[in-house]
C-alpha cells in the first residue's frame, strides 16, 4: 500500500508497460499496429474499456469478498468486460461508422484483450484502493496506446524500407517489438518495480 500515485502511474506507463514488459494485449498490438490512424482510436477505445473495467472490478471485488464468493470473481469480471465492450461497440457504430469498420474484428476482440482483464486482476491482487485503481487503469491504457502508436509509426516507416523477403511479416514485427521492449527496459526503476 506504500506505492504513491506517481509511482503507480509511471510504473504502469513505462517501467512495467503492459505490452512491452508484461506481455498483455499482444493480439491487438500485432494486429492493429499497421497504421497510425487506426492505432490511436484503438488505443483510446481500449483505455476507455480498461477504465470501465477497473471501476466495475473495484465494486465487484468488494461485493464478492463481502459475500465470500471469491470463486465467482473471474466470471463476474469477464461478464462486466464483455458488456463494456458491447457498449463501446454500439457507441462507435452510431457515431463513427467508418472507424467502426476500420477496427473490424479487433473491436469485439477487446473482450479477449488480456490487458483489460489484466488491469482488473492486477488491481485486485495488489489491493489498490479506489484512486490507485483508477490511476493504474489510466496508466495501463496510456501505456498500451503508447506502445501501439510507437509500433504503428515504425511499421509505417518500414513500408518504405527494403526488407529481405524471409523476414517480412510477423517475424519482423516481433523483432521490432523486442527492440522496443529492450528500450523500455531502460525505464526500469522508475515507479514501482515488480
Amino acid at each position: 500500500m506504500s506505492e504513491t500515485l506517481p509511482q503507480i502511474f509511471f510504473g504502469a506507463l513505462l517501467a512495467n508497460n503492459f505490452v512491452l514488459a508484461m506481455f498483455l494485449g499482444l493480439c491487438p498490438f500485432l494486429g492493429v499496429s499497421g497504421r497510425l490512424d487506426t492505432a490511436l482510436p484503438m488505443g483510446a477505445a481500449t483505455t476507455f474499456v480498461m477504465l470501465v473495467a477497473s471501476l466495475c472490478a473495484f465494486g465487484l471485488n468488494w461485493l464478492v469478498t463481502t459475500f465470500h464468493l471469491e470463486f465467482l470473481r473471474l466470471i463476474a469480471y469477464i461478464v462486466v468486460i464483455a458488456s463494456a465492450v458491447q457498449l463501446v461497440e454500439m457507441v462507435l457504430k452510431k457515431h463513427s461508422p467508418a472507424l467502426f469498420r476500420a477496427l473490424g474484428i479487433y473491436l469485439p476482440l477487446i473482450t479477449t484483450n488480456c490487458a483489460v482483464l489484466g488491469v482488473a486482476l492486477f488491481q485486485t491482487a495488489r489491493e489498490y484502493d479506489f484512486i490507485q485503481a483508477l490511476t493504474f487503469a489510466t496508466a495501463g491504457g496510456a501505456g498500451f496506446s503508447l506502445a501501439l502508436l510507437l509500433m504503428a509509426g515504425l511499421r509505417e516507416r518500414l513500408q518504405l524500407a527494403n526488407v529481405p523477403n524471409v523476414v517480412q511479416g510477423t517475424a519482423l514485427v516481433l523483432m521490432l517489438a523486442g527492440l522496443l521492449s529492450l528500450i523500455f527496459m531502460g525505464f526500469a526503476g522508475l515507479g514501482a518495480g515488480e
Binding site: 506481455f23 494486429g31 469477464i78 461478464v79 523477403n165 524471409v166 517480412q168 523486442g178
Partner: protein, 219 residues
Amino acid sequence: MSLPGPKPRSNLEELLEGIWKQNPVFIMMLGMCPTLAVSVSAVNALSMGLATGFVLSGSTLLVSLIRNIVPREVRIATYILIIATFVTVVDYLIQAISLAIYEALGAFIQLIVVNCIILGRAEAHAARNPPLRALLNALGMSMGFTIGLLALGAVREILGAGKLFGISLFGPDFQPWVVMMLPPGGFFVLGAWLLFFNWFNRRKTPVASDKPAQGHAHV
C-alpha cells in the same frame, strides 16, 4: 502439403491439424500473451500448456454438446462463461497441486480466459462439429500449443540460464544470456522461430509463392 479442401476430414487429420498445419503459436499467432509471458523456462511452459489444454478440451467438449440448444445471439457470452468456469477449476487445481508453479504463472492462469485460441476454437470449430471431432481437434490444438510453448521455453531457458528443466547443461563456466529471460528475449526468440519457419517453407516451395506463412486464421 495438399490444400485442406472441402472434403470431410478423417479423425486423424482433425487431431493433427493443430499440431502442424494450424499450429496456434507459429501459424495462427493466437494466444500470444501467455506464450511470451510464461515461456521463461521449460517447466513453466509445460504447465501452462497443460492448463490451457485442459480448459480448451473441456470447454470445447461442452460447447459442442450444447451447440444446438444455445441461441445464436447469446452464444459468445455462453462460451465465455463456460471457459471462465473451467479456468476457475484449473486455477484452484494448480493451487492444490503445486504452489510453486501457481506463483510462477501468477495472473496468467486466470488470464487463460482471454486466450484467443479457446474462444476461437469454440466459435470456429466446436460450435459446428459433433463432440468427438471437436474434442480431437481441441486435443490437437492443445498439443500444438504446448509444443509451441516448449519450443520457446526451452530455447529461452537454455540461452538465458544454461539449463533445461532446471538441469544445468553447460557446467559452471557458462555465461548466461540474461536478456533471453527478460521480456525482449521472448519477442526475439518467437521472432527467430518464425524466421526459421518462413525460411523452411520457402525452401520447400522454391518458386514464386510469396504467400506469407501466417495471418489467415483470424476468426
